[in-house]
Symmetry: C2
Subunit: 262 residues, 2 copies
């Protein structure tokens, strides 16, 4: 992982980094307590669809984990997101389509938004990013950033990708997932199998009136999760209206499973 | 409220009290920080069926609220519970019947356990205790114990009674409810109406494999709750297997809504 730049604000050092994965240069951010040298619990943050590694919800949680717990946090841009967008028109169209779907209100889910070609491309990107996230863990281990106490947080696309990642890479010890469901029509067979294979503690967030994830689909995914410890949190509101107090819950959850920094 | 006795252990003063409500002497406990004089946020704790005001889950939460937050906590025995049991054989039979129902596993709910006479008696006790809890609030106000920042916590029967109490006594500002559902056959019409009339923030706990509350019945009750802020928490396990970390969640919830003690 190469450090491109570094800035510190109110006790949080933010490093812009580049992770080399094969021929690909994946841009990322590492957040650390100012002056940190020792290893510490580290949470990988997976951003949602059409946003990026420094979206407000990612940045906010990263800073809390650093300030309140002394943890490290890391986020990468997913393929065709953030600094990895190669087709700006397509990215803009995807943002507009998602907003239009949200404006329609709860109901049809997100699957009908994709045709077969798009769904194939989605699955390709998912599998690419799963392997990038594993390469990230390799790097954090070899560079001495982490001490093996690794967590993952990701909502929506951050679960679409992250659930498969957590299922396939057993180095992640606990994960906060959510805003996703079964039977979305997007590579569901292996997604459900991955959910059933999970064994680490999971905090699973649902929005009770999610426009993109039908309620039953979310409940079915929670039910499918194979972990002995799993907890569902749900509040009224739509896909992008998760209450801010769920950050407290995520922080408590990681603290319980990854332990204190010192 | 007359103080019968007082003892202090590890910073927590526990007062055995008697609350006079009409001709009835209702035994209760008040927990306070050692040496407390000023008013402070106060949480009323409603115990579950077949247990009492000093059941381990009540005592544990009371001590946490006092030690971690500097709050006061109060619990009363419900009619025919704890020190108010007049028919020991009936109380023993009720405990055995409940355990037998739990041993049967998830499914039928709790309503089939009661015949019409028992259901009538249940409803009479519920309404009696709702008025006793309001009398308790009158007393805490007139005695200067509380400063109006009042919360309620109660699971199972503590929701069967407490949801109606919170709906009818608008002095309660936030409540943790759970392990209860709609369509239990026990005075449901007014229970659902009470749920729909709620306006204060609610944290609602469900057990995903509750033997006494069918899953859909719990989800239906969460859906019915009229409050703008409401959050569902659910974990695997049966009726008496709520994870201990839900105490952290309850504490955070009250802290957010009732504020700091000082």
């Amino acid at each position: 992982m190469d450090v491109v730049s570094e800035a510190t604000e109110r006790g949080v050092t933010e490093r812009q980094v580049i992770l080399k994965v094969g021929d690909e240069s994946v841009p990322g951010i590492v957040w650390l307590p100012e002056g940190a040298t020792a290893t510490r619990p580290t949470v990988v943050l997976g951003h949602g669809g059409v946003v990026h590694k420094r979206a407000p919800e990612v940045l906010g949680l990263a800073r809390r984990l650093v300030r309140h717990r002394g943890y490290a946090a890391i986020a990468l841009d997913a393929p065709e997101h953030g600094d990895r967008i190669t087709n700006k028109d397509a990215a803009r169209a995807a943002r507009r389509a998602l907003q239009a779907r949200i404006d329609q209100g709860p109901g049809g889910g997100i699957a009908p938004m994709m045709d077969e070609t798009q769904a194939k491309e989605w699955n390709r990107r998912v599998m690419t990013h799963v392997s990038e996230l594993s390469a990230l863990l390799d790097d954090t281990e070899s560079s001495g950033l982490t001490d093996g106490r690794l967590g993952y947080w990701g909502m929506s696309m951050g679960t679409g990708i992250g659930l498969r990642f957590v299922a396939s890479d057993r180095r992640i010890k606990a994960a906060v997932l959510g805003l996703s469901g079964l039977n979305s029509g997007m590579g569901d067979g292996d997604f459900e199998a991955a959910a059933r294979s999970l064994r680490v503690p999971i905090l699973f967030l649902m929005q009770w009136n999610d426009e993109l994830v039908p309620r039953q689909s979310g409940l079915d995914l929670f039910e499918a999760i194979g972990s002995e410890e799993k907890t569902l949190h749900s509040s009224p509101g739509g896909h992008v209206q998760v209450p801010v107090f769920e950050n407290d819950a995520a922080e408590l959850f990681f603290s319980r499973h990854l332990g204190p920094a010192a």
